[in-house]
C-alpha cells in the first residue's frame, strides 16, 4: 500500500500517468488543466526516457501523440474544451489507425471561448465521436481526485487492450480540487504490440500505420472490424457506481462533480422520506445502459443532473427506451447545481407521478 498524499486533481492525473508507464506528454497551455502540464514539465526531465514537450498548438500536440502511439509507447495529452476541439482531427486519425492513447479533457464552459469554470458540456463530443467518421473513445469520468489517478491507469490499460484512444472526461472542479489520494504502484503491465513502428530491423515486412483505404470494400471492412471491438468494450468495460438504488423510486443519474452534489441530495431526500437513489456512470462510453434499463423496471422517474443543457439525458432516454419520465436538473456556463436544487428536482420527480 502506498501512502496517502494531498494533491490537486490535475497533478494526480500526471503522476498516475507516469506510474502507468506513460513517459511521453505533449500539450499546449490552457486553463483549467495547467497544473497537469506544469507537473509533467517538472517530472519528465528527471525520469529516464521521459519527454515533456510544449507543442506549438493543440493540433501539433495530438499529432505528436499520434507519432508516439504508433511506436507502441504509452502517451498522452491534456487540454480543456476549446483545445480538445482542436484535437478532434488528430483523435479521429488515432481512432482510424487503431492506436491507443490518452486524451484528458478538463472541461470548461462553452461554446466558443466560453469561460474557465467547470462544465460537462463536451459530453456529446466525447461520447459520440467528436471528430469525423465512425468511431468511439473509451470515456472515463472521475468524481474524486482518487479517481483522477485510478482512472488514468485504467484508461491506459483499456486503450492498449482494445487498441483505441481513451479519454478522461473531467471538469474544472476535479482538476482544481485538492484531496488525499493513494497513488498506484509503479508496475504497469505492458502488452506486446506487434503492429508498432519500431523499425523493421530488416527482419520483418514493414508495418504501416494508416487510416486511408481508397477501396470502399476495404474501408467498410476496417469499420466493421473496429465496431466488433467496440461491441466487446460495451460488453465488458461498463463501469458505474450504484448508490441507494435497492428500493429507489427516483433514480438520479449524474457523473463527475454533478454526481457528488447529487449524492448529498439523495441522502437528504431519503431523510425526507423520498426513496431516491443514484446511478453514477464512471464510463459514459460505454454507457451503463443495462443498469439504467434495470432501474427503469422499478423506478418511476429519472433525474439527469448535468453541467450542460442536457446531453447525457438523451442516452438515459435511449437506455430506458423512454419508458419512464426523465427530467433535467442542470446549470451551465461554469455554474454548478446546489444539493438543494437537485433535491428540488428529486421532489418534483417523486411527486409528479403520484
Amino acid at each position: 500500500m502506498s501512502e496517502k498524499v494531498l494533491m490537486k486533481g490535475n497533478e494526480a492525473i500526471a503522476e498516475a500517468a507516469i506510474r502507468a508507464g506513460c513517459l511521453h506528454y505533449f500539450g499546449y497551455p490552457i486553463t483549467p488543466q495547467t497544473e497537469l502540464a506544469a507537473y509533467m514539465a517538472k517530472r519528465m526531465p528527471k525520469i529516464e526516457g521521459g519527454v515533456f514537450l510544449q507543442a506549438e498548438s493543440e493540433i501539433a500536440a495530438i499529432n505528436m501523440v499520434y507519432g508516439v502511439a504508433a511506436t507502441g509507447k504509452r502517451v498522452m495529452t491534456s487540454s480543456s474544451s476549446p483545445g480538445v476541439s482542436l484535437k478532434q482531427e488528430g483523435i479521429s486519425y488515432i481512432a482510424g489507425s487503431d492506436l491507443p492513447a490518452l486524451i484528458v479533457n478538463v472541461q470548461r464552459g462553452g461554446p466558443g471561448l466560453g469561460g474557465i469554470q467547470p462544465s460537462q458540456s463536451d459530453y456529446f463530443q466525447a461520447t459520440k465521436g467528436g471528430g469525423h467518421g465512425d468511431y468511439h473513445l473509451i470515456v472515463l469520468t472521475p468524481a474524486s481526485v482518487q479517481e483522477m489517478a485510478d482512472l488514468t491507469g485504467l484508461a491506459f490499460e483499456l486503450a492498449d487492450k482494445y487498441r483505441m484512444p481513451a479519454m478522461l472526461l473531467a471538469d474544472g472542479t476535479m482538476g482544481q480540487m485538492m484531496e488525499p489520494v493513494e497513488l498506484p504502484e509503479t508496475k504497469p503491465e505492458l502488452i506486446d504490440k506487434p503492429w508498432a513502428l519500431t523499425g523493421t530491423g530488416m527482419k520483418r515486412e514493414h508495418n504501416i500505420v494508416n487510416s486511408l483505404y481508397l477501396v470502399p470494400e476495404q474501408l467498410e471492412k476496417t469499420n466493421l472490424e473496429r465496431y466488433e471491438r467496440y461491441k466487446l468494450v460495451e460488453e465488458n468495460e461498463v463501469r458505474y457506481e450504484s448508490f441507494m438504488m435497492d428500493d429507489a423510486e427516483v433514480c438520479v443519474v449524474a457523473f463527475g462533480i454533478a454526481a457528488r452534489v447529487s449524492k448529498n441530495a439523495v441522502v437528504e431526500a431519503r431523510k425526507q422520506g423520498i426513496k431516491a437513489g443514484l446511478i453514477r456512470p464512471i464510463t459514459v462510453w460505454p454507457f451503463p445502459k443495462k443498469a439504467l434499463a434495470k432501474a427503469a423496471e422499478t423506478c418511476k422517474a429519472f433525474v439527469s443532473v448535468e453541467l450542460s443543457m442536457g446531453q447525457m439525458i438523451e442516452d438515459i432516454n435511449l437506455a430506458i427506451k423512454c419508458s419512464k419520465p426523465v427530467s433535467l436538473c442542470n446549470r451551465v456556463g461554469g455554474m454548478i447545481p446546489s444539493p438543494e436544487e437537485v433535491l428540488e428536482s428529486i421532489k418534483k420527480a417523486a411527486g409528479g407521478n403520484e
Binding site: N63, M64, T71, T200, G201, H206, V209, N210
Partner: protein, 250 residues
Amino acid sequence: MVVFERPHSLAKVPLHYCPGCTHGIIHRLVAQAIDDLGIEGNAIGVAPVGCAVMAYNYFTCDMIEAAHGRAPAVATGLKRADPSKIIFTYQGDGDLASIGMAETVHAATRNENITVIFVNNAIYGMTGGQMAPTSLPGQVTQTSPYGRDVSMAGYPIKVSEMLSALDGPEFIARVAVNNVKNVKNAQKIIKKAFENQVNGKGFSLVEVVSSCPTNWGKTPSDALKWVEEEMIPYYPLGVYKDKSAEKEGE
C-alpha cells in the same frame, strides 16, 4: 556488372504517379540515401496528404500516414519516442507550406533531429491543380484561372529562405531534379540530410523543385523546361543553411 538497380528501400510495387511526374525520381533518391547509409531497418517514414499520400506503400521501412500538414509533428512524436530511429517526412507544398506551416516552422526551430523532404511543384496535384502557396505570380491554376494575382492571393512562399532565417535548423537546401546534373546534386544533398540525422545534427530539410505536367497542362519535357525557365529563377538552388559548415568556417 550492375550499374543501376532499384534501391532495396524502394518497394517493388508500381507507383501511382502520373507520367512525367518527378516524384518517382525523388522517391528513388530517398531510397538510395537510406540504402547508402544502411538505415532501412531503423527508419520510419511519414507520408503526407497530397500526391505522395501512398508513399507508405513505396518505402520498405516502417511507415505512417499523417494528417494534412502534420507530418513534422508526427515525426517529432516518433523521434521523441525513440531518438535512435531515423525519421523522415515526405511532403508537398500544400501540406508543408500551407496547412502545415506551423508544424514545419516549429519542428525547424526546435531543431528536431528529423529529415524533411519537401517536394515543391507549385500546385496542388492530388486534388486536381489548385493554387499552392508556392504557385508563381501569374501562374494559371484551377483556383487562379486568370493567373495568380498577387494583390489578391499574395506572393509565393520561399520556404528555404524563410526557414534559414531561424536559428534552430541545421540544414536547409533547395535542389531540382529536372536534368541529370541536378539529379546527381539532389542525391548528394538528400543523402547529407539523412546523414545529418544519423550524426545527431538536427533538422535537415531539402526542398526539391519538382514538376507536375498533368496539372500544369504541359508535356513532361515542356514541364521540365518550365522548371528551368520559370521555377528555378524564382526558387534559386543551393544550400541555404548548414550550421555545421558555418561552425567549421568560423
